[in-house]
């Protein structure tokens, strides 16, 4: 059993990891065809992962409703929403509009999902302003530098700021193009090196957390 649950997946990871790491550098048509086939499989698996995610969500909230845990009412609303949207979506064949006429699925999308998602992110502006007022204080030299840079960029990124202080536009561009770009590049390089290291560990079986838990 351990052979099926541990050794086989590790072997598959090793072989496919090495093959497709090498595939990138091999322009032969057979290599390209192999890449095409595997990416199609990836898309198919991605579709199944979506089904898996939804069924997992169903299961988690079913348990909450059955046990009447704290907040089970929200789980019930989620259940009704999910089942209703799936039923309506299947009935409308997944289309928001047919020949210019909005379907029921389109109605749910346009008049429920779009406003709700937009609202959720729109209210962030208010919380950001409140958080900025409470915590954006120059308690140290570094915090003061950050504060000054933030004020310059906030001024420079809007027409009113550029109108009041014309230099703020050029200064904010310099901060973004020089200071920000160089630091982000350093972070990107660090993250990329870390990703390469982690990938090598996964391919060679040194990192096995993706296999999940369970008895050996």
């Amino acid at each position: 059993m351990i052979f099926l649950r541990r050794q086989i997946p590790l072997l598959i990871t090793l072989i496919t990891g090495l093959v497709f790491a090498g595939q990138y550098y091999v322009p032969h048509p057979a290599s390209e065809q192999m890449l095409t086939s595997v990416t199609k499989w990836l898309q198919i698996i991605g579709g199944f992962a979506l089904v898996l995610g939804v069924s997992s969500l169903f299961h988690v909230h079913a348990v909450k409703i059955r046990r009447k845990e704290a907040g089970w009412g929200y789980s019930f609303v989620l259940y009704v929403g999910m089942l209703g949207t799936i039923a309506v979506g299947l009935w409308s064949n997944g289309k928001e509009a047919v020949d210019g006429a909005m379907t029921a699925f389109g109605w749910i999308y346009n008049f429920m999902m779009v406003p709700l998602q937009s609202t959720m992110f729109a209210i962030l502006a208010f919380f950001i302003a409140s958080a900025a007022y409470r915590s954006f204080r120059a308690r140290s030299r570094e915090a003061a530098v950050l504060l000054i840079a933030a004020v310059i960029v906030m001024m420079g990124r809007v027409p009113l700021g550029e109108y009041l202080i014309p230099l703020s536009g050029d200064l904010s561009q310099w901060i973004l193009n020089v200071l920000n770009a160089s630091v982000r590049r350093a972070i990107l390089i660090g993250v990329s090196l870390g990703t390469v290291a982690l990938s090598i560990k996964i391919i060679f079986g040194m990192e096995r957390s993706y296999l999940g838990g369970g008895k050996e």
Partner: protein
């Protein structure tokens, strides 16, 4: 400071530091609403980043294949929707062949609506001047698949028509045949993924659009030339509308954004003044006590 008594003055700064956040919400609310009702219309300076995308599209000959990936959901609609409208208008004005798709399932309906709306406005025909391929699962796998074989990745368009029969895709077999691609991304997959899995291997020219929050993170790609332009946030969309000579939601929103930014700056300055005043008061009281 008001009040003769030191205790009253301290109390005022302390009270201001702990002000009810609903007052701040009201201030931000007014700063957003009033400029939308009474617009000012300040001039918008065009940045090199946005000009990069605009100039490249301007340079494309008629009939070039322009790929637009609308990788955002309704949460990012206020910033990226105006960008998509301006880009589509520009592409249709230049009579480019527009190939649109999305890598975000929750943005599919919105993407279809914006393309249909702009195409109708510009008198363009589905299948002949543009195609909306829709969404396919897999994220980066879709990009690789399109790079290998576009018809394999999308055998049919969003309306179910076989892609091989569409005149707009004539002569295009994979991403190598695309003249210019722009990804309007609100996260992952987005601009970075299109570069890493698309442009790097299949060598097409590429630009990007993103939310204001994401823009600083894409400057390394911009500075190294990996993308030739970047439309960042509502400001970027407003700049593009200015270049197009068309006033839209982005330009209208810049007045509100200006007022809100100014309000936040004033609030931050005020909070720091109260903070330093409170700190120096506490220090002097401490010295007096000693």
């Amino acid at each position: 400071m008001l009040g003769d008594d030191e205790g009253e003055t301290v109390s005022f700064t302390e009270r201001m530091l702990k002000i009810d956040r609903r007052i701040i919400f009201l201030v931000i609310g007014f700063c957003t609403l009033l400029p939308l009702l009474y617009p000012v219309g300040l001039p918008i300076k065009i940045s090199q980043e946005v000009r990069g995308v605009y100039d490249h599209i301007e340079s494309l000959p008629e009939g070039s294949a322009f790929l637009l990936s609308l990788d955002f959901d309704p949460a990012s609609k206020p910033e990226l929707h105006p960008q998509s409208i301006s880009l589509l208008r520009h592409a249709f004005r230049k009579n480019l062949r527009v190939i649109a798709l999305t890598l975000w399932v929750s943005g599919t309906g919105m993407a279809d609506q914006v393309i249909t709306q702009v195409a109708r406005e510009m008198g363009k025909e589905n299948g002949k001047d543009y195609v909306f391929l829709g969404w396919s699962p897999g994220g980066t796998a879709v990009i690789i698949n399109m790079g290998q074989d576009l018809y394999g990745a999308f055998p049919a368009d969003y309306n179910g028509k076989p892609t091989k029969e569409l005149p707009v895709l004539h002569g295009i077999t994979n991403l190598r045949d695309v003249n210019y691609a722009v990804s309007l991304g609100a996260g992952r997959p987005g601009v970075e993924e299109w570069y890493v899995f698309g442009k790097d291997k299949y060598k097409f020219e590429m630009g990007g659009g993103c939310t204001g929050v994401m823009a600083p993170g894409l400057y390394p790609l911009l500075r190294s030339g990996q993308i030739n332009g970047l439309i960042g946030g509502l400001r970027g969309a407003a700049e593009y509308e200015t270049l197009m000579g068309q006033r839209g939601r982005a330009i209208a929103g810049m007045d509100a954004q200006s007022a809100t930014h100014l309000a936040i700056i004033v609030l931050v300055i005020m909070c720091n003044l109260f903070y330093f005043s409170s700190r120096s008061r506490a220090r002097s009281q401490g010295q007096a006590g000693a």
